[in-house]
């Protein structure tokens, strides 16, 4: 069903309140615009993944990103059709700070299979993580 931006805002709020796992994690709707969805997970002690550092578990970030991506797809299609995640790749840039909320902004950059000769319309994208041979392991603090 095709919807307008106002309906997407209502959908974004519903997606975090009515989805049992999103509600259990305490996800909050932040904003939505064409092709973009923004959600937040407020810090909670019971979502910590590493008791030594006190930061949120990677799985919480995974669920937040997955949910935000689902909202971004709906915001790109301007419809409310359910989505299914095919794959998800997450690179951890740095550990989340303990006791801080985490915000996810998802941007849906490809929706159809149509192809035109356009530099803004790439045929492939890649993401990779590398180890630098010269970089010494971080010294013990």
């Amino acid at each position: 069903m095709k919807v307008d931006l106002e309906a997407l805002v209502a959908l974004g709020a519903r997606m975090v309140e009515m989805t049992p796992h999103a509600a259990a994690l305490g996800l909050k709707f932040v904003s939505v615009e064409a092709g973009v969805g923004v959600l937040k997970v407020p810090y909670r002690d019971d979502l910590v993944g590493d008791p030594q550092t006190g930061v949120l578990a990677g799985g919480v970030i995974t669920a937040l990103l997955d949910h935000a991506c689902g909202l971004a797809v709906k915001a790109a299609a301007f419809d409310t059709d359910p989505t299914a995640t095919l794959d998800l790749r997450i690179d951890y840039m740095r550990p989340a700070a303990p006791r801080r909320d985490v915000i996810a902004r998802a941007h849906c950059y490809r929706l159809t299979h149509t192809f035109e000769d356009d530099p803004d319309d790439p045929i492939a994208t890649a993401q990779a993580a590398f180890v630098r041979a010269g970089a010494a392991p971080r010294p013990a603090p």
Partner: protein, 152 residues
């Protein structure tokens, strides 16, 4: 070393592993939030996630949230590595790639991690999660994890 003391050493190792696993499950708040448990067969761990309504991502099907599948498999990798590499502190995730193969149904989810390579600083791990049929996995995860010696 006599056969008897060798057997004793093995038994102690198994006990230490079980203790470490129990300590991890108890100490990680997020593992408790999910409701995760695990069983050991030697040094191979099977992680178990009994179905619970708070894990649902699609009420209509119903299906487990994609984030739950990813989270459970990442936690499986971290725990299996912790058991296999007891000299290291809890591994930190560098990256994970999750493949969703089938909807996760309102059933118990299992996962096993295959530690493909342990280097000096980085481990490569593959995880598969399934429900009723081991040969029909629900999702798979490949990831890299950073190892640091305990106390560092």
């Amino acid at each position: 070393m006599t056969a008897e003391t060798r057997a004793e050493a093995r038994a102690m190792t198994a006990e230490t592993r079980a203790d470490r696993l129990a300590a991890l499950l108890a100490a990680i708040p997020y593992a408790r939030f999910l409701g995760m448990t695990a069983e050991l067969a030697g040094d191979e761990m099977t992680a178990i996630l009994p179905f619970s309504p708070h894990l649902v991502g699609n009420v209509a099907l119903p299906a487990l949230h994609g984030g739950v599948l990813g989270a459970f498999m990442e936690m499986t990798a971290v725990m299996q590595l912790s058991i296999r590499e007891p000299q290291h502190r809890q591994p930190r995730t560098i990256d994970v790639t999750i493949e969703y193969l089938r909807p996760g149904r309102a059933l118990t989810l299992y996962a096993r991690a295959d530690v493909r390579k342990v280097g000096r600083r980085i481990a490569n791990v593959q995880v598969e999660a399934w429900q009723e049929t081991r040969a029909s996995p629900v999702a798979a995860l490949r990831g890299h994890f950073l190892l640091s010696l305990s106390g560092s």
